[in-house]
């Protein structure tokens, strides 16, 4: 058995999420406090003293539980700092859920934060473990690593590079369109397709508009046992599935790996669907927040999650299937592309959109009667990554 799952055993009863963006005026401490305060403001009567334990996710904005306990001045609570690349926020959430499901605690909080814009560099920068200087990850940037998907995908499925470019452009266009409707998004304006397609090249065929925003931000979730959920809110969000996979990281050394898929995502999605009892994801999932770090990533993810047939996602993207008014809206909140990507907060931000959608609080992005939401969070790069998939629902059972 891959995992037993904790279907419907825990629920989210409160959430907070800052606006994502270049917060020159706010520190990681400020962002954490803002997100946590927003969460408590939605759950009257609950204070941070009522929360039994905390999980704090950040990739590079500090180490240890003190990153959270110090700014919040938490009084002697268990605080665990977790890190799992760009899936860090989801990992904080997953472990917090398990702590509640185990019965160890009644009420816990998962918080994610990242302060990326203090580095002064373009793109993501992380400190390297001392090494021998031969690892390609230490040289190749993230957009370059993900751009490897584009020529490989075109070659394998005999897709005209112009069609693939159009599909990549559509992904960026769609996510900017959605983000323009989101007051918390980093980039709040639509971008014309010809501008996206002609943006300055970053790596391979990826232009600036094919890359997610580099942002500061924080998000959090308050979690309790499902049976207690109505003590805190009349609209809890139930956790149906939590799947997490770390791959053997052998794509870059295995000639059998073809750079058109993330096997880690395939495994995580299969586990999540099994836990949640989902058999036809394309029909059953109401909305999905996926890890669109770069536009080709979102295209490949559609196939890895089972939303598109192999080699067909680019076509489905162009057909508008994943638009806000499409058959299966993908990244209705704007995604990493437009909402921004403060690493440790992103996984929780994805859950936040499901939270708003189920509560009918998504404003202009509101979908009609969503039942099941999926969040997908990726850490690493093609061939060497970790993948997280959750399924959440508005109702139990």
């Amino acid at each position: 058995m891959a995992s037993n799952g904790i279907r419907d055993r825990v629920a989210i009863v409160g959430m907070g999420c800052t606006a994502f963006g270049e917060h020159w005026d706010r520190s990681a401490d400020d962002l954490l406090l803002d997100a946590v305060q927003e969460c408590f403001s939605s759950t009257p009567g609950v204070t941070q003293a009522d929360v039994d334990a905390y999980w704090l996710g950040t990739m590079s904005s500090g180490q240890s539980g003190l990153v959270l306990s110090r700014p919040l001045r938490l009084d002697y609570k268990p605080v665990t700092r977790v890190e799992n690349f760009c899936a860090t926020g989801s990992e904080a959430f997953r472990n917090a859920c398990y702590a509640v499901a185990s019965g160890a605690y009644d009420l816990v909080m998962a918080v994610g934060v990242e302060k990326l814009k203090d580095s002064g560099y373009s793109g993501l920068v992380r400190s390297q473990t001392p090494g021998d200087g031969t690892a390609p990850e230490s040289a190749l940037t993230a957009p370059a690593a993900f751009s490897l998907l584009d020529p490989a995908y075109c070659k394998k499925f005999d897709v005209d590079p112009g069609d693939m470019r159009d599909a990549m452009t559509h992904v960026a266009w769609k996510n900017h369109h959605n983000g323009a409707l989101n007051p918390r998004a980093q980039f709040r304006k639509e971008v014309a397709k010809d501008k996206i397609a002609a943006s300055p090249l970053v790596a391979g065929r990826l232009g600036v508009f094919d890359c997610s925003g580099v942002s500061d931000g924080s998000a959090c979730a308050l979690i309790c046992r499902s049976e207690d959920a109505h003590l805190y809110t009349d609209k809890p969000m139930y956790v149906k599935a939590l799947a997490m996979v770390a791959g053997p990281a052998d794509g870059p050394i295995d000639p059998a790996y073809d750079y058109t898929t993330f096997p880690e995502v395939v495994h995580a999605a299969a586990d999540a669907y099994r836990q949640a009892g989902v058999t036809n994801p394309r029909e059953e999932i109401s909305l999905a927040e996926v890890h669109d770090c770069f536009t080709p990533t979102e295209i490949v993810l559609m196939e890895d999650m089972g939303f598109s047939e192999r080699g067909e996602a680019w076509r489905d993207v162009l057909a508008g299937d994943f638009d806000l008014d499409g058959k299966l809206p993908i990244n209705p909140d704007g995604g990493l592309k437009s909402f921004g990507h403060p690493v440790g907060a992103s996984g929780l931000r994805m859950l936040f959109e499901c939270w708003l959608q189920f509560r009918g609080e998504a404003g202009e992005r509101q979908l009609t009667d969503p039942k099941l939401g999926l969040t997908h969070n990726l850490g690493g790069r093609p061939g060497t990554c970790v993948s997280f998939v959750s399924i959440v629902g508005s109702e139990k059972g």
Binding site: S122, G131, A139, T141, A144, A203, G204
Partner: protein, 458 residues
């Protein structure tokens, strides 16, 4: 019989046309081109490339590795050790530098000949912008393997003459050399040459050599000597510019490329004295480089022109904007030592249970999950094919943009490597590539040596 067993030369791909240099500086600079070591090449990497060609199909050297250059990548630390490691020669044996002077080349050759070793002669040459040194020098390398049995040429005479005089000099740390008046050097050199060459020809029992190779940092001395000691047979010159400690070796390699069996070759090196050597080729002379099409002339024919501004940037004369990215960390000592065979020798591991090749070597097989069932597998000489690729315009690179390719090697194994000696429009899925030993970058004074690939016959 002991003597020369094999040789190889390496000519870097890049050229600076003298017309380009002249137009950039607004001076007449003549015709032709000089060879230019790329931003990721130095005397060590080019020595490795020449030595790989010399050792292709040959036995590894019985004796040591003797490395000569006027442009050592490190001082205090031996550079020949990196060459030794890149050739996967294990930990036994000797490796030493003859670093600093042009004449070190003769020292390396004679030490290798005496000790059945490998002489690697390599240099990066430059001078002040607009100088004759900058214009008329070239970069390159040559390597010579000596030993017993199956020699392609025997050494029949070795002579020397030595004098102390101030013709050309450079203080450590200076980027350009100084020279005295040209006629002074000429008049100092000619009697020394006459002395050494006369004794060498006499010892060899010949009046005139079939081929003559002359090398001197003093150009007018070299020209005058060529007139005094004409060869019996014509040798097509290899006009890559005076290449310092590599010059004599590249000249010899070029002569061997064109020589037949039973010929005599007179080597004259006029650098702070004169060293003369007479070689006689044997009927074993079908050089590996001729077989592989890696002759000096063939390598000279594969050229990529660069702008003068690029040349200055590569030599560190001007510092270009490198983008808003952090410089890479320096390679750490202990991990580099642990992975010596991988990092320098490009040695991976192969699972003895299922055959899966792992780059870098690992203890657990990614296919059958056997633990510690690995044998070493050297990948450095395997060609490969590009599985997918990208051009990284964001990454830190000494000469952006960085081209990265996922390479599947013939015989198994995959790794992501930088592609060099290529422009972004020269790569696609299926491009055939060959390995080349390079310096990825220098950080904290540490050169990060590793392997790259370049297009085959690019």
């Amino acid at each position: 019989m002991s003597g020369l067993l094999a040789y190889g030369a390496y000519v870097p791909r890049h050229r600076l046309q003298r017309a380009e240099l002249g137009s950039a500086l607004g001076v007449p600079a003549g015709k032709g081109a000089r060879t230019v070591a790329a931003y990721d090449e130095d005397s060590t990497t080019m020595a490795v490339e020449a030595a790989r060609r010399a050792l292709a199909g040959a036995r590894p050297p019985v004796g040591g590795v003797y490395f000569a250059t006027t442009a050592p990548a490190y001082v205090d630390k031996t550079n020949a050790t990196a060459i030794h490691a890149a050739l996967d020669l294990g930990h036994e044996g000797f490796a030493v530098d003859f670093a600093g002077s042009v004449r070190g080349a003769v020292g390396a050759l004679r030490a290798a000949a005496a000790g059945s070793g490998l002489a690697a002669l390599s240099d990066v040459r430059s001078g002040r912008p607009g100088s004759a040194d900058e214009r008329d020098s070239g970069d390159g390398a040559a390597a010579f393997l000596f030993g017993d049995g199956g020699v392609i040429a025997e050494v029949v005479a070795d002579t020397s003459a030595t004098a102390e005089f101030l013709d050309r000099w450079r203080a450590p740390g200076d980027t350009a050399s100084s020279t005295w008046e040209e006629r002074f050097g000429l008049e100092m050199y000619l009697p020394l040459i006459k002395d050494a060459v006369t004794r060498a020809l006499s010892a060899a029992g010949i009046e005139q050599a079939d081929r003559v190779v002359i090398s001197s940092p003093h150009a007018r001395t070299a020209a005058a000597t060529a007139k005094s000691y004409p060869a019996r047979l014509a040798t097509e010159p290899a006009p890559l510019g005076f290449s310092g400690a590599a010059d004599l070796g590249i000249g010899l390699a070029n002569a061997l490329d064109q020589a037949g069996p039973g010929e005599t070759i007179l080597l004259i090196s006029a650098a702070d004295g004169c060293d003369a050597t007479v070689l006689r080729t044997t009927d074993r002379l079908v050089s590996p480089s001729q077989q592989a099409g890696d002759t000096v002339a063939a390598q000279l024919a594969l050229s990529r022109d660069i702008r003068y501004s690029t040349f200055l940037a590569w030599r560190g004369v001007i510092e270009k904007e490198t983008g808003r990215r952090p410089e890479p960390d320096r390679p750490a000592g202990p991990p580099s030592a642990r992975s010596e065979a991988w990092k320098f020798g490009f040695v991976g591991s192969r699972c003895t249970e299922c055959g899966r090749v792992h780059l870098p070597p690992t203890r657990v097989c990614s296919n059958c999950h056997s633990v510690d069932k690995m044998e070493r597998m050297r990948i450095s000489e395997a060609p490969g094919t590009v599985a997918t690729y990208t051009v990284d315009r964001l990454a830190f690179s000494p000469s952006p943009p960085m081209i990265d390719v996922v390479v599947d090697f013939d015989g198994g194994g995959r790794y992501t490597l930088e592609m060099t000696d290529a422009s972004p429009d020269e790569v696609e899925i299926g491009t055939r590539v060959e390995t080349t030993f390079r310096r990825l970058y220098t950080s904290g004074g540490v050169h990060n040596y590793f392997w790259k690939v370049r297009p085959v016959n690019g």
